[in-house]
């Protein structure tokens, strides 16, 4: 058994002398192993990592018995000595590579900076090392790329650069704080494979922080779960996922959407509610002195599909494929440039101005971010009643209040919610308010634009359940836009896969997910991390 690289004993972090964000946690990480710290948002996992490096904000107070790197207690080290350790013995990569890189320095110089800090090599040798690192993280054409700025690279490439920066110091421990959360699922698979390769090459310890249990089950040797600042369970991956002990862990695992549920949907056909024919959204590209239109960006290019009454169509794709644009332009929030949208026999695409406004009730939308989708200065009751006031002005104020109370009850919120403000509610509750707001006008079709992507996995399960219940009770149809294939399996009856503005595959969910026809769909499915309960590791 090797000795631990990192030992944390009784670490606590308090903010503003009141909030205990990390509450007496202890664990060890051994060299050559991948240790995963999982938990939902606000559980304190990122703060734990920052405490090791002592990069906490000024209003945080840290107390611990020991934080030891190879037996050397870091708490006794001065700030100056800690600067020598950061970046060279312990490396860290963060969630959003675009904002984590300095936008006005070339990536080559950002990597060089680490080398110059911790080693004294000649200029020649430094340049050589930078090239080596870029090759190690598999960036093509490293000599050219060295002189590029972060905004010229893609998201996946930026994260590779971040890894290169972390590796430049030849660390014993690499901390990865949600390294793939903001990346597409195919890129995610690549980055994780890269991390695994590098770990095996260098035998360094990898401390992975994530909220994605499926991902962790594929990658980690040992897992620890954090809830509200405490570690509730630790264990070896295989044991952990096949026989979870703590009720919280069990709850988390139960809440995970599984790909197998795609077989449980009712395949009975219903008449079509929405018919979309040859729908396009083209953005003009203007160049030249007088800004003439030279070309078009085809965000949505000639899309056609039907949605049946009371059924759910899932629209999947990676970022930039046009799914959000499609969803919003169906409601004319983004102007469309061609095609027809027919709902219940009414051709929406022909309507304009006041006529369009009257027909708005038929299609509604629920947005991704529960924090920015409600006016922070309005009462919840007013927010929910907004649609009723606009489209049915003749309904009296008392009737409106009664309807709002009924809706809030239907989405599972307490009675007095109408008199409170949005910021008093949690993320999941806010999403419920948004759903209530949408239901107030009795829509036939609800476009759900990634409604659960910003929520914790346990809350996600509740919202999905709510949506299903509402569909059964009211017979409303959903256009469910998401990038998460597991959620698709739970929620959808039919799936349409989008790529670069076109729908490349469309069919019943069981068929598309188990027997995909297109190569891209196969690639997507292969990249999705599946919860491993038996064999915990994937080999690189």
């Amino acid at each position: 058994m090797n000795k631990p690289v990192l030992t944390i004993e009784h670490l606590s972090v308090t903010f503003n002398q009141q909030q205990k964000v990390v509450d007496d946690i202890s664990f060890e990480i051994f060299s050559g192993e991948t240790f995963a710290l999982v938990g939902e948002s606000g559980s304190g996992k990122s703060i734990t990592a920052l405490s090791v490096l002592r990069l906490l904000p000024n209003n945080a107070r840290l107390t611990a018995a020991a934080i030891s790197l190879h037996g050397d207690n870091l708490l006794h080290r001065s700030e100056f000595e800690l600067c020598k350790i950061r970046g060279s013995r312990i490396g860290m990569i963060f969630q959003d590579p675009m904002s984590s890189l300095n936008p006005v320095m070339t990536i080559g110089s950002q990597i060089e900076e680490v080398i110059n800090l911790h080693f004294s090599l000649s200029r020649q040798a430094t340049q050589q090392r930078v090239l080596e690192l870029l090759q190690q993280v598999e960036i093509p054409e490293p000599e050219k790329r060295m002189k590029d700025y972060p905004h010229q690279l893609s998201g996946g490439q930026r994260q590779r650069v971040m890894i290169a920066i972390a590796l430049a110091g030849e660390p014993d421990l690499l901390i990865a704080d949600e390294p793939t959360t903001s990346l597409d699922v195919t890129i995610q698979a690549q980055i994780l494979a890269l991390l695994k390769t590098i770990q095996q090459q260098t035998n360094m310890a990898l401390w992975l922080i994530s909220h994605d249990l499926a991902l962790v089950s594929n990658l980690a040797d040992r897992v620890a779960v954090m809830q509200r600042g405490k570690i509730v369970e630790t264990g070896i991956t295989a044991e952990f996922f096949s026989h979870p002990q703590h009720p919280y862990t069990q709850k988390l695992l139960d809440a995970l959407p599984s790909m197998q549920s795609c077989f449980t949907h009712n395949v009975e056909q219903k008449p079509p509610l929405l018919q979309v024919r040859d729908f396009s959204c083209h953005y003009p590209i203007r160049k030249g002195i007088f800004k003439r239109v030279v070309d078009y960006v085809k965000a949505v290019d000639g899309v056609s599909f039907d949605i049946q009454q009371g059924k759910t169509l899932a629209l999947v794709g990676e970022s930039g494929c046009g799914k959000t644009t499609l969803g919003k332009s169906l409601l004319n929030l983004i102007p469309a440039s061609g095609g027809r949208v027919i709902i219940n026999g009414i051709e929406l695409s022909r309507l304009d101005g006041e006529e369009l406004r009257q027909q708005r009730a038929h299609i509604q939308i629920v947005f991704q971010d529960p924090f920015s989708s409600m006016n922070p200065r309005m009462l919840v009751g007013d927010i929910v009643a907004e649609g009723i006031k606009a489209l049915h002005p003749k309904i009296s104020s008392d009737d409106r209040k009664a309807r709002v109370a009924l809706l809030l009850q239907q989405v599972g919120l307490p009675e007095d919610s109408a008199l409170r403000y949005p910021h008093e509610f949690s993320g999941g509750q806010r999403q419920r308010i948004c759903i209530a707001r949408v239901l107030a006008v009795d829509p036939k079709l609800i476009v759900c634009d990634e409604p659960t992507s910003a929520l914790d996995v346990s809350v996600q399960a509740q919202i999905i359940q709510l949506l299903k219940t509402l569909q059964q009770e009211k017979g409303v149809s959903y256009l469910f836009i998401t990038h998460d294939l597991a959620v698709v399996a739970e929620v959808a009856d039919e799936v349409a896969v989008m790529y670069q503005g076109k729908i490349i595959e469309h069919g019943p969910v069981a068929q598309v997910l188990s027997r995909p026809a297109q190569a891209y769909t196969k690639k997507l499915l292969a990249a999705v991390p599946v919860l491993q309960t038996e064999n915990p590791k994937i080999t690189a």
């Binding site: 009257q358 509604q364 409600m374 649609g387 006031k389 910021h423 707001r437």
Partner: protein, 445 residues
């Protein structure tokens, strides 16, 4: 009652502020920032100082025809009558008993002597100035201070006994204590000064013998008028144009941007100068409309505020346009569109309340820069009328006389002290307001 234009507008503004205050007071999203302001010692102390300045300004804004001299006077004038009427011949130093410059004096026995004559009013009650002066001043100062202190303590006791239980904790908080300490200080010191000014010229006299303390106090109204009326004129333009440009974009945005870029490219001082010149020529050619000196000066003050307002709306407009552009992309605006809410309702309900914090911060910040600007403008002679009492005019007048030996420093210092107090209080209050309403520091947005 004589109602000057600026008086009417000041009271209108006061009314509007009270109404707005009552309306917003109940709103939940105002409670947190207001509480934060209430808890800050600095803010409460500055607010107290500002309150006293406003009180003086308001007193000075109620005008009527005096029975005695057929002049237009204000309530403040009536209260400060001794200061107003006890003028000397020319300069005299603060608390002085003698005139600043030497004169030919006729003695009691008929001989002529070249010396410093005694002042007519300042220290006139002293028989032996050299010996008595210091003790007399100290005595009177303490007496006045005690009077003021007594008044404040009495008032506090009254308030404490009358106040309901629920408000008592607020009164006990450290910021409230600091505020009351400031009230105590201001009232006592001012009482002392006022009592003393019955006997001496506390800040001396200026070239024509007018009491400098009186001038400084009268200038308060001018500073306040410029700081507040300009805002009254600037706000509607900035808000309407800024929000419309940001929300509708397209040609509306282009036109409004063109207008404010054009206005901005003209150097503001020159624009103000040109406008004031035009106003002067206009007023010169329409003599009949302006009956008295005070009415004319008042009109010029009003025009100055108008011009300042028209030239300064562009800054806030730009900020509001940028914020509206951001808000427009917020999902709750899109949700409102999807729910079929009309555009004008979206503007009123979603955009306007969410930019008000920028407006508030801007208003409070601009106040101090406007007061400072008035001094500079008066210096270039494109500010207020030379007959209006203003700190700018005081500085201007004093500056021309700086070459005298010994130097005449009291006019300048008085203007400095008063202006500094007002601007510092406004700046400190503005800082606290900005911190309280900054969405990043709060728990909202």
């Amino acid at each position: 009652m004589v109602i000057l234009w600026t008086d009417a507008l000041i009271f209108l503004l006061l009314g509007l502020m009270l109404v707005l205050g009552l309306y917003l007071h109940q709103k939940e999203y105002m409670k947190r920032p207001l509480q934060q302001i209430g808890r800050s010692k600095v803010a409460m102390v500055s607010l107290v100082v500002l309150f006293f300045f406003m009180l003086v300004g308001l007193l000075d804004s109620v005008h009527f025809k005096s029975a005695k001299s057929n002049d237009i006077v204000s309530l403040l004038d009536v209260w400060a009558t001794p200061l107003r009427e006890q003028g000397e011949k020319t300069y005299s130093a603060p608390f002085a008993v003698y005139l600043y410059s030497k004169e030919m004096m006729t003695q009691a026995d008929g001989t002529q002597q070249w010396g410093y004559p005694r002042l007519q009013f300042g220290g006139a009650h002293l028989t032996d100035p050299e010996a008595q002066q210091t003790s007399d001043i100290t005595e009177k100062a303490l007496y006045g201070f005690a009077q003021g202190a007594g008044l404040v303590i009495f008032f506090l006791f009254l308030l404490w006994s009358v106040l309901l239980e629920q408000h008592k904790p607020f009164m006990n908080s450290s910021s409230a204590k600091a505020a009351w300490a400031m009230v105590f200080l201001i009232v006592s010191v001012n009482y002392a000064l006022i009592y003393l000014s019955g006997y001496y010229h506390v800040f001396g006299t200026d070239k024509v013998g007018e009491d400098v303390f009186y001038q400084a106090i009268k200038s308060i109204r001018t500073g306040l008028v410029i700081g507040t009326l300009t805002t009254l004129i600037m706000l509607p333009m900035a808000i309407i144009f800024g929000i419309l440009a940001g929300f509708f974009r397209g040609w509306v945005d282009d036109v409004i941007q063109y207008v404010y870029t054009t206005l901005n490219s003209i150097p503001s001082v020159l624009l103000i100068a040109a406008s004031i010149l035009m106003v002067q020529v206009y007023m010169a050619n329409h003599e009949e409309a302006y009956t008295s000196v005070i009415v004319r000066a008042d009109m010029r003050l009003l025009f100055l505020c108008l011009i300042l307002g028209v030239t300064s709306w562009t800054g806030l407009c730009r900020l509001l346009r940028a914020e509206t552009l951001k808000l427009r992309e917020m999902e709750y605006v899109q949700a409102a569109q999807a729910l079929g809410v009309r555009r004008r309702v979206i503007l009123l309900r979603h955009i306007l309340p969410n930019v008000m914090h920028i407006v508030l911060i801007s208003v409070v910040l601009d106040f101090s820069s406007l007061v400072l600007a008035e001094a500079v403008l008066s210096y270039i002679n494109i500010g207020v009328d030379p007959t209006t009492y203003s700190w700018g005019n005081m500085i201007n007048g004093a500056r021309l006389e700086m070459a005298r030996e010994p130097i005449v420093w009291w006019s300048l210092s008085a203007a400095f002290v008063f202006m500094f107090a007002l601007v510092l209080a406004a700046n400190l209050f503005a800082d606290t307001v900005r911190d309280a309403f900054d969405p990043r520091r709060g728990g909202y947005e």
